[in-house]
């Protein structure tokens, strides 16, 4: 049993070391400052269109399906409650994270992987640079800060488009939708959604940086690293989503 698990433990050990090293490298401010700004632009601004698109469709689908379920069974203004709650708690953070795992995670893994196999990371090291501070810390900081920001954008546009669809399809008024939205809302839900997205926002670039930083085996290795980064992050998002719902959601209530 242990023999089978051993490679896994070695990997987790390496991952842990990289994170530990990143933590220590936070002191190396001048090395990561510029790159952090650049990464924030990349993760934040350039991901905004796809995140907004996702958010809009998420809100539209959600409201159509909720209205379908409520029809002739419960007051329709409740659509406001269900759409808002489900977007803030679940859909906004998770869909945004999955999109970013594909878009941002893959590109970070490919970039670092290429730098590894073409010896650019070695080049940084021999120039007495701390490659972790230069390459890994910026994506971690940018991820933790920008993912919640993007999630809030997705939430807002999702709820807005859910509202518009309700108005257009079942003659609900904005006031009624908002009444529903306020009905079960507690601020903790929003806090929880943001904490959740920050956690995702840490692990997406962390996974990508980890597989990229330790890439082996040329162009093929880079391809594998990219795929691995997306798979690991996606699975991790689902698992963390469950764990946080189970252990964190009630804790703050």
């Amino acid at each position: 049993m242990f023999a089978i698990m051993e490679p896994l433990f070695t990997e987790i050990g390496k991952y842990g070391k990289l994170l530990w090293w990143s933590g220590i490298s936070l002191r190396d401010f001048s090395t990561y400052y510029d790159n952090t700004i650049r990464r924030m632009k990349f993760i934040g601004i350039q991901s905004l269109p796809i995140v907004l698109l996702t958010g809009a469709f998420m809100g539209m689908v959600e409201s159509v399906q909720v209205l379908y379920s409520l029809q002739n069974r419960a007051p329709l203004y409740l659509v406001g409650s269900v759409v808002t709650e489900s977007i803030i708690l679940e859909l906004g953070p998770v869909l945004t994270a999955l999109i970013l795992a594909g878009r941002v995670g893959a590109s970070i893994a490919a970039e670092l992987g290429t730098m590894r196999v073409t010896e650019q990371i070695d080049a940084l090291e021999v120039m007495a640079f701390n490659p972790v501070a230069y390459l890994v810390v910026p994506v971690l900081i940018a991820g933790v800060i920008m993912t919640p920001v993007l999630t809030i954008f997705a939430d807002v546009i999702g709820i807005l488009s859910g509202c518009i669809i309700s108005i257009l399809t079942v003659d609900l008024s904005t006031a009624e939708f908002l009444k529903g939205a306020r009905r079960f809302f507690v601020p903790w839900d929003l806090t929880y959604g943001i904490i959740k997205s920050a956690v995702f926002g840490f692990f997406i670039p962390a996974n990508a940086a980890y597989v990229g930083f330790f890439t082996k085996g040329g162009a093929e290795g880079v391809g594998k690293a990219t795929t691995r980064s997306v798979v690991i992050s996606s699975v991790m998002i689902l698992i963390l989503d469950y764990l946080m719902a189970q252990f964190l959601l009630k804790a703050g209530w």
């Binding site: 090395t31 650019q120 070695d122 080049a123 090291e125 021999v126 120039m127 007495a128 640079f129 701390n130």
Partner: protein, 244 residues
């Protein structure tokens, strides 16, 4: 001075270097020759601390780089330039950014001075005016020379070359050889050149060492190596004399 003493390095169960010892004197150019896969790149990476040996020590001016902590390692590396076989230029940066990245970090210089030093280094390798080009826009020989410019930018005392002429046409290779000689002549650097190009070895080397089966089998001045009866050396030399 670089003193390598009883170095062992293996990957998994595969021994690459076995009890290897070697000395690089101040101001000389030492050439290490050896077949592909004999561990030449590994040896260079050990010298600069990118890899750690299982046993043995590597003393740089008396300080053991094998045992150096993070800060010491950084300080020791600032004395080194490393020219990678694949050039390893940062492909998202321009030529001048490649050259002055380390300058910006390690020297608290005004922009003007950084620019001047960048130009100076580019001129040294005869690549005037290429500051704003991207590495992908350059030929292999030009990238090699940018690699050299980047390596010398921080005024290193030691420069390590990993197969500087491999994969280049004879004329470009000769350019690089002349550049290595010029570095020694004008900047008085100590160099270690790893290669399997015998012409290059005889052109730039003050001493030549053969890396064979994980050890330095024979070392000496070019004239000595030329007369050697070592079977590996003879293989290298037969290719060389055929070319002549």
């Amino acid at each position: 001075m670089i003193q390598i003493e009883n170095i062992c390095k293996s990957f998994n169960t595969h021994f690459v270097l076995n009890q290897l010892s070697l000395m690089v004197n101040q101001g000389e150019t030492l050439v290490i020759i050896g077949k592909s896969g004999s561990g030449k790149s590994v040896l260079l990476k050990l010298i600069i601390g990118l890899l750690k040996p299982e046993t043995g020590s590597i003393l740089i001016e008396g300080k053991n780089i094998v045992k150096a902590g993070f800060r010491d390692l950084q300080d020791m590396r600032r004395n080194f330039g490393f020219v990678f076989q694949s050039s390893a230029l940062f492909d998202s940066m321009t030529v001048s950014e490649n050259i002055n990245l380390a300058l910006r970090k390690h020297f608290k210089w005004p922009e003007q001075k950084i620019c001047e030093r960048t130009t100076e280094c580019l001129n040294f390798v005869n690549l005037e005016g290429l500051q704003e080009k991207l590495p992908s826009e350059l030929s292999g020989g030009m990238r090699k020379r940018v690699g050299v410019a980047r390596a010398i930018a921080g005024y290193p005392q030691y420069i390590l070359f990993d197969e500087p002429t491999t994969g280049l046409d004879p004329e470009t290779a000769e350019n690089i050889n002349q550049l290595i000689l010029k570095l020694k002549r004008e900047l008085e650097v100590t160099s270690v050149v790893v290669t399997h190009d015998m012409h290059s070895a005889f052109t730039v080397g003050d001493r030549i060492a053969l890396l064979h089966k994980g050890k330095i089998d024979i070392e000496g001045e070019p004239a000595v190596i030329k007369k050697s009866y070592h079977p590996e050396i003879k293989k290298f030399l037969s290719g060389y004399t055929l070319l002549k």
